[in-house]
């Protein structure tokens, strides 16, 4: 019951605050490109050709998601089907946290404690979708001034520094750090993000009988499959993603959406 009241309370707030951040709901265009996967098995593509797409400038915020919950009550904590979200689902939106953090900041903080299923449906309800691993990494390899940051760029050091720090709660608001080359904020330094194919990037024919974690990434000489050993940051992200299950709701894991370009000439 308490949850219900706090929900109504916060949704009223969104109406007042949603206009505050000009980047809310904004997407940027990423042109056709090629992504060289960080981790490759013998049967994987050497490079992945990406069609141009749009990506959200900001990760989905608490405010965005509260708005979504109002329209799609099946995703509220009390009504969500247990197969789609574990017990920690939407923990950060509980009334306890509301009293600890100024509302305005909460509304603009990235949504976390959200399952892959909820993330996927959120994007689809906006006419969007979750990015693939390749799309996310393609966008995230940009520095502030170049589309692909060089190996010795300060970006990698900053990312590794962030990975080495415990997550700070409450999470800072989205869009505070400078955008990357494409104009996208917070791909690094705030939260981890769901991708559509999070559990298959490391999967190969060699591992299919195990049906589980890719041992060749983690064990001994198996690391030869890693194409760029200097990119330890990507290594951490791949390992993190492969440890997830789609119903997990985690304190530092949220998402953003992408969108395909409209079909041209009405052709299918």
């Amino acid at each position: 019951m308490l949850n219900h009241y706090s929900f109504v309370f916060v949704t009223t707030l969104i109406l007042n605050l949603s206009a505050e951040n000009s980047n809310t709901g904004k997407m940027v265009y990423l042109p056709n490109g090629v992504y060289h996967p960080f981790f490759k098995n013998s049967d994987d593509f050497d490079s992945i050709r990406l069609q141009a797409f749009y990506m959200d400038v900001l990760p989905v915020t608490n405010g965005d998601f509260l708005d979504f919950l109002k329209k799609h009550p099946r995703w509220q904590k009390n009504s969500v089907k247990p197969i789609f979200a574990d017990s920690l689902y939407l923990k950060a939106l509980s009334s306890h946290n509301l009293s600890e953090q100024p509302e305005k900041e909460l509304i603009q903080s990235p949504l976390t404690y959200v399952s892959w299923f909820a993330s996927k449906d959120y994007c689809e309800c906006q006419g969007k979708r979750l990015p693939t691993t390749a799309e996310w990494e393609y966008a995230a390899q940009a520095g502030e001034s170049e589309p692909v940051s060089s190996e010795n760029s300060p970006l990698f050091r900053r990312i590794l520094f962030w990975y080495s720090q415990p997550t700070v709660f409450p999470l800072p608001k989205t869009g505070s750090a400078p955008p990357n080359y494409w104009g996208i904020h917070d791909l690094h330094g705030l939260i981890f993000e769901w991708v559509a194919d999070f559990n298959s990037a490391l999967f190969s024919n060699d591992s299919r009988t195990k049906g589980g974690l890719e041992s060749s990434l983690f064990c001994g000489s198996g690391n030869v499959s890693v194409t760029d050993l200097k990119n330890y940051a990507a290594y951490i992200r791949y390992a993190f993603r492969s440890s997830l299950k789609a119903s997990y709701s985690i304190s530092n894991l949220g998402f953003r959406c992408v969108k395909d370009l409209p079909l041209q000439g009405g052709k299918i």
């Binding site: 449906d121 309800c125 006419g127």
Partner: protein, 207 residues
Amino acid sequence: MKNKIWMESLIIIFIAVNCMQRKERHHALADHPGEALASPGSRSLYDAEARWFNQDLKPVALNNLAGKIQVLTFGFTRCPGACPQLIRDMQAIDNHLPADFKDQIHYTFISIDPQHDTPQALKQFSEVMHLDRARWQLLTSSAGNILTLAMLMGMQYKETKDGFFAHSNIIHILNPQGELIHQQIGLNRDPQESVGIIRKLLTDKSN
């Protein structure tokens, strides 16, 4: 021509289940045969509401599978070796089950390759594999629906550079309510463990 119709209908399902909002309206019309299953706390996979098509181009909702024990696997019909073996492994399980109870057990093959596996291709595959039409169903849907169901069942797959798929080789056993009870992992396994679990489900069901 058939392919074109198929692609169009795929696009229609994609739009129809794109966002669950439509389904919420659907609920309001009480047009939901599986509603009784969705008790609070249920872990039924049939809660994943999505539209599928079978090998006869017949629309199927997952909760149509309720009421029987389901033995289910994922694969694709161009699959050179593993998928026919998974089917043979399912047939091996069936061969060890008492004949009297066979009408209570149903077999489902879910395609992970909607682009190639049209209902027609699924039908052809079921004929090549000599699948009993009364007890086997082959299903396909939009790529998004297939991925959601695969995620629910802990099943991994991805496209490989030779144009095929790498995928987990798992046979899933679901109780009549659609809860995942057991996974037989790997190819060419001794069916006895799965057979034992199905026998127990049959006993539970008759009690």
